[in-house]
């Protein structure tokens, strides 16, 4: 493979590329889907190919082919250079890449058990056992469960001398129980609170599936008759299983530098965090600190090097409530006067062009010693929300609306019962400035396997860590409707 990679770089250079990089990658995926006592599908896929990126006079070209052989890499290199040359007519400012050292290295997700080596029967048995356990509960009508595994094996090489091999593994287990009241024409679901992770099969072995399946089924049934929320302002306590998605949408995306500068205007949108606000804008209350990293153990965006060949690290995005930094790639670092990239380039396939994707973005734990139980006890009237379901935010990341899986009414410091039909809506900076307490205990990671961005659309896997936190007087909607 290394010889083919070098051949691609030589071919790009000989055609006129000032810089080129190549990724030869194999993506393995396995998915198993079940419902009740039936296996709906077991599938394995393998995708192998080579992608070459070339810079000619400061203009990018990219081409990829699935034939990983001398003729194929020559074709990809020649096409990448031809595209770069053709596109020069529409380039205003030449691309300048931030400096990076040449690395010859290897990195792999530190897994205990490679999920691709676990027998399919074991996985099927577990999924069917989850469904069986859930359906023991009276009123639980259906249960779907699934596992999805990804392994990326990739070799990156550049004309600057790097040759980096990586093996990245991610797992995504899930189930959903549905309770149906046919007479009333009503149904409710409750999905697992398990998260996708950058681990091996050991995560699946340590999650308490049977306990959660029974509880989830009881809660799905209870949702059918739970009290419908009265709309208004509430103090919200958000569990990590809910808050990670709010962090993702309202902190992760607006701190992407390409969005802030208008490079995603035609699709995902821009950002309210424009560059003149850097170091000045009070994003949240003084206890709010967001850190970006691609190094956190078990997180989905964690890797050794990004797809620019930059070693990964950790940096602050929001410090003591103030917006202080962005996510960057080699191309972007110079846009805000930085010498080095934060290593946020990623391509979701050998056939996709690398561009800026979100690292793990996490809310630091609170400094005061505080548990979830103490936080609930400290809340007079509010709602405690676990899990996530509906989510939506505007194209500049001001106005968002989120829902959840489980809503618990808090009255006088105690959980008073279940609520339904809850969604919370806020403006990003109002919401984070309303954060008055963050627990020191109960930090957990949540994440997305399929975060979409770019044209053509690419999918990124990313985690967000946080502990339970409280937000004062947030607008809550009632989502029940009659149509």
């Amino acid at each position: 493979m290394r010889e083919l990679a070098r051949r691609a770089l030589d071919a790009a250079r000989s055609k006129g590329a000032g810089y080129a990089d190549v990724r030869i990658a194999r993506f393995l995926r396995q998915s198993i889907n079940t419902r009740e006592q039936r296996v709906m599908n077991i599938s394995n896929s393998e995708s192998f190919g080579v992608g070459v990126r070339a810079l000619v006079d400061g203009t990018w070209g990219f081409a990829a082919v699935s034939r990983v052989e001398p003729e194929g890499v020559d074709k990809a290199a020649a096409r990448a250079v031809a595209i770069a040359k053709a596109n020069r007519v529409a380039q205003a400012r030449p691309v300048v890449l931030a400096k990076v050292a040449a690395y010859k290295d290897a990195w792999q997700t530190p897994v205990v058990k490679d999920p691709f080596k676990i027998p399919v029967e074991r996985k099927v048995d577990l999924l069917l056992a989850i469904n069986r356990e859930a359906l023991k509960v009276k009123g639980a009508a259906f249960c779907n469960s699934s596992m999805f595994f990804v392994k990326e094996e990739k070799l990156f090489a550049s004309t600057e001398g790097s040759e980096i091999e990586q093996e990245i593994i991610r797992v995504l287990p899930s189930f959903t129980v549905t309770a149906v009241d046919k007479a009333a024409g009503k149904f409710r679901t409750r999905s697992s609170l398990a998260e996708p992770t950058g681990t091996g099969y050991e995560y699946i072995e340590r999650w308490p599936w049977m306990e959660e399946a029974g509880k989830a089924a009881e809660q799905a049934v209870a949702k059918l008759t739970a009290k419908s929320v009265s709309p208004g302002k509430y103090d919200l306590i958000l569990a990590p299983s809910n808050l990670w998605l709010t962090i993702h949408e309202s902190v992760g995306h607006p701190t992407e530098l390409d969005r802030a500068l208008g490079y995603e205007a035609n699709y995902a949108g821009t950002s309210f965090l424009t560059t003149e606000k850097l170091g000045k804008l009070r994003f949240g209350s003084p206890i709010v600190n967001f850190v970006a990293d691609r190094t956190q153990p078990e997180a989905l965006a964690t890797c050794g090097y990004d797809d620019d060949g930059v070693p990964t690290g950790e940096w602050d995005l929001v410090k003591d409530g103030v917006f202080v930094d962005y996510q960057t790639t080699r191309e972007q670092a110079g846009w805000i006067g930085r010498d080095l990239s934060y290593g946020c380039a990623y391509a979701d396939s050998w056939s996709s062009v690398p561009f800026q994707r979100m690292p793990n973005v996490s809310l630091r734990r609170g400094k005061e010693k505080l548990t979830l139980e103490e936080l609930i006890a400290d809340t007079k009237q509010g709602i405690f929300i676990e899990g996530n379901s509906s989510y939506s935010i505007d194209q500049q990341r001001y106005n968002f609306q989120f829902s959840g899986e489980l809503f618990w009414e808090i009255q006088d410091g105690k959980v008073a019962g279940m609520l339904e039909d809850v969604a919370y809506q806020a403006i990003t900076t109002d919401f984070w400035n309303a954060c008055d307490r963050i627990c020191s205990e109960g930090y957990a990671l949540g994440g997305s396997f399929f975060d979409g961005k770019g044209e053509p659309g690419q999918s990124n896997a990313v985690s967000h860590g946080c502990a339970p936190a409280r937000f004062r007087q947030i607008n809550v909607l009632n989502t029940a409707r009659t149509v």
């Binding site: 053709a86 099927v124 009508a141 009333a184 995603e264 194209q395 969604a423 409707r481 149509v483």
Partner: protein
């Protein structure tokens, strides 16, 4: 990687010969996708990718397994087939297993333009440059995306079924923003042939909307008479379509479930102005003559004059319920009326004109309640004229409610939604009632 009918058939037959399974179905698809992106009035990234993938589903009795690979040498094909077989041997019996179909009659559908799959990079760069030049001349900032692709799909199985289809696709979209970032306009569309997509006309429309949408005024959230442009209608149809499975309806977990049991086929749930069908051979949005499971695709109505006439039946569920199965729809077509968007605006005394919707997600599947936002051109209409831009809104509403309250619409046209960007939709602009729930500062 584009393969001819004979080349594709050769690989399909080679895979079928290798299998020791009692039944086997194979699908093979691929092509060449090329694109150019631009933003801030210059080119950004671009790409050209060639690929093809073979999927094999092997069955022993009622046990099945699947595998796919994108390499076609003998060893790779054998590995793929064996992996599918091995998975099948370990899989539990599927009580809903359906045997593969015998050969079907597939019609030829013209959906391929040779040029689209082999467009020179200079042609794409030229399109981007013309859009950028147009924006510079008007002193706005433009971002956009242009793709050209050509590909094929083939299916085959151990009962000698075989199908082959070629499809090309061009897409163009552009967002123009005023330099002060206070106005934003969008336009976009898809087609099968280069002449179907008027990139310059769309760029011009995006630029005009950017100017028109500058300096928006606030309207109070609430229920409004709204004109939804086709891009917005396409997205709402897509979300309603997601909810039209017959099985979830019969199982009591869908809007289309009937209280007490059964489903809403035969019930009037939308305005009598709504007639909705799919037709793979419609030249305005042509699709494949076969579905992935081998069924021949055909014209099928789902809603006629507001009455639900069909839901989506898989082969298994159709057999169990004594219905005809519905092959996967290749497009969605809604019958329109006469007249254009300007005619509809002219006919509107007071309302809000919405260019497109954004970040649409389910809030409650029970009522198909969705939330999302308006984007890139939201305007107040008074006495038949666009009076001024209004601030974008977040909305919470159901397509069932929106499509129940239609009182006027235009002729139907090819449309490209924000969420349904790659799905082929033909629909009109509609005038209806819509509920905005809060304001957004986003431009």
């Amino acid at each position: 990687m584009s393969l001819t009918r004979d080349e594709a058939k050769g690989i399909v037959e080679q895979a079928l010969k290798l299998t020791k399974a009692e039944e086997c179905s194979v699908s093979l698809s691929g092509g060449r996708d090329a694109n150019i992106r631009f933003a801030k009035n210059e080119v950004t990234t671009s790409g050209d990718a060639e690929d093809a993938a073979l999927s094999v589903r092997a069955s022993f009795g009622k046990r099945s397994g699947s595998a796919s690979v994108n390499q076609f040498d003998g060893a790779a094909l054998e590995r793929c087939v064996r992996q599918a077989e091995e998975t099948a041997r370990f899989a539990p019996e599927d009580p809903e297993h359906m045997s593969v179909l015998p050969p079907q009659a597939y019609r030829e559908i013209a959906a391929f333009a040779e040029e689209a799959g082999d467009l020179a990079p200079e042609r794409r760069a030229d399109v981007a440059k013309k859009a950028i030049d147009l924006a510079k001349a008007r002193k706005v900032v433009i971002a956009g995306f242009f793709t050209s692709s050509g590909g094929f799909q083939a299916i085959g199985n151990s009962k000698s079924l075989f199908g082959y289809h070629r499809q090309s696709r061009l897409t163009f979209s552009a967002t123009a923003r005023t330099p002060d970032a206070q106005g934003s306009g969008w336009a976009g569309n898809n087609g099968e042939r280069p002449e179907d997509v008027d990139a310059i006309g769309l760029s011009r429309a995006a630029v005009e909307k950017a100017f028109l949408s500058a300096k928006p005024r606030e309207l109070a959230p609430g229920a409004y008479t709204v004109i939804l442009e086709p891009a917005a209608v396409a997205d709402l149809f897509l979300y309603m379509g997601f909810s039209m499975g017959a099985r979830p309806a019969d199982e009591g977990r869908s809007f289309f479930s009937k209280k007490g049991g059964g489903n809403k086929i035969g019930e009037k749930v939308l305005s009598e102005k709504v007639t909705l069908w799919t037709d793979p051979a419609d030249p305005r949005a042509p699709g494949a003559p076969f579905a992935p499971d081998g069924q021949a695709t055909r014209k099928m109505a789902f809603v006629e004059n507001g009455v639900v006439t069909n839901l989506d039946y898989s082969r298994y569920w159709a057999q169990k319920q004594g219905k005809e199965p519905t092959p996967q729809p290749q497009n969605i077509i809604m019958k329109g009326d006469t007249g254009s968007l300007p005619d509809l605006v002219k006919d509107t005394k007071k309302g809000v004109l919405v260019t497109r919707l954004w970040y649409i997600r389910f809030v409650d599947p029970q009522t198909i309640l969705l939330t999302g936002l308006t984007r890139d051109g939201t305007f107040a209409v008074e006495n038949g004229k666009i009076r001024h831009a209004v601030k974008n809104f977040r909305w919470n509403d159901s397509p069932i409610s929106v499509f129940s309250k239609i009182d006027a619409m235009t002729r139907e046209v090819r449309a490209r939604g924000s969420e349904a960007e790659d799905f082929s939709v033909v629909c009109p602009a509609i005038r209806t009632q819509f509920t905005f729930s809060s304001l957004s500062d986003a431009v």
